[in-house]
Symmetry: C2
Subunit: 190 residues, 2 copies
């Protein structure tokens, strides 16, 4: 399906540069199509951006959540999430890393539909993390009295921080640093 090809290519370009930088002309060129052929599927550039974001969040769920969703809720699944998340940060299938992280940092201080949609996607993911953190506390696997939202913030920050570490600094140990940092955030001693 052509629409799928378009948003896939758009997400790839967005991860590599920025979502705003994915112009209709560049995208059409990349796809070997005309500009009107591309824009006809969406109507406006903002609608294309929203569809690209949908594609990226689907890919995130597919590569991070789907592989672990049948694990035992609580600490076992939380640790599995950390591992699939780190693997995804290293190989998201997009050239420039996780497209959702890119869009989060690009649109955080703006207003509008893209800002709202990426905020909602991150919020949904946080609820998953918070639920497993709370289940882990209830099971006695994490210290009682931890602030679940604070820990979720910590895990998110570490996962997002992998992109500049790997790609800006070229750190070879990013994976190990992130794995260790996530366990420290959770209060687990190695």
């Amino acid at each position: 399906m052509t629409r799928e090809r378009i948003v896939h290519t758009a997400a790839n370009l967005a991860s590599d540069r920025s979502l705003d930088g994915v112009t209709i002309g560049v995208l059409a060129d990349e796809l070997g199509m005309s500009k009107s052929g591309v824009v006809g599927h969406f109507g406006t550039k903002e609608a294309l951006q929203l569809a690209t974001l949908d594609f990226a969040t689907d890919r995130f769920r597919e590569l991070v959540w789907e592989p672990v969703k049948d694990q035992t809720p609580g600490l076992p699944r939380l640790l599995a999430i950390c591992d699939s998340w780190i693997a995804y940060a290293e190989n998201s299938g997009f050239d420039g890393g996780c497209c959702v992280v890119q869009i989060s940092y690009e649109f955080d201080s703006r207003t509008g539909a893209v800002h709202d949609k990426v905020a909602a996607a991150v919020r949904r993911w946080r609820r998953v993390l918070v639920a497993d953190i709370e289940a882990a506390v209830a099971a006695g696997d994490l210290a009682p009295g931890v602030n679940a939202a604070q820990l979720a913030f910590g895990l998110e920050s570490i996962a997002s921080g992998m992109a500049p570490s790997r790609m800006l600094q070229g750190d070879a140990d990013t994976r190990d640093w992130a794995r260790q940092a996530m366990r420290t955030i959770l209060g687990l001693h190695p």
Copy 2:
């Protein structure tokens, strides 16, 4: 000095949108100048971007490093850095948060002069963190055997993660979460 006004305004716009999004026309409009009046100070857009990045890193050093540079090297200064860093993340003087974080995430997967310059700036800052972490270990204030580079990565990630937490999610507790997360990363128990 006009050049100073231009890069200050450019850094403000870049923090709010993106560095690439600071077009010469928009910048000239914002300043009440002509496009050629703006571009004449720099020659090319890339030179303007590099000058804007210089301004932003100067501001970071001034607001995060300068206030704590006379503190005792090691854990005391490290904790002071965490506090000034968090305060800066909440009020950098730029409308859209820390300009260096914005540029890091925007240019991490690109090549070129802006990528290289922001990478070097982050690297310099890391060396400061690593030195104080190592001094804290030597003084017996942090656990022996900690990986200083890994801890620096953790602190950086938390500080950078404040922007989407505050501005994308509107989290009112970002400051407290970050402060707690930084201490946890350092292995300090509250």
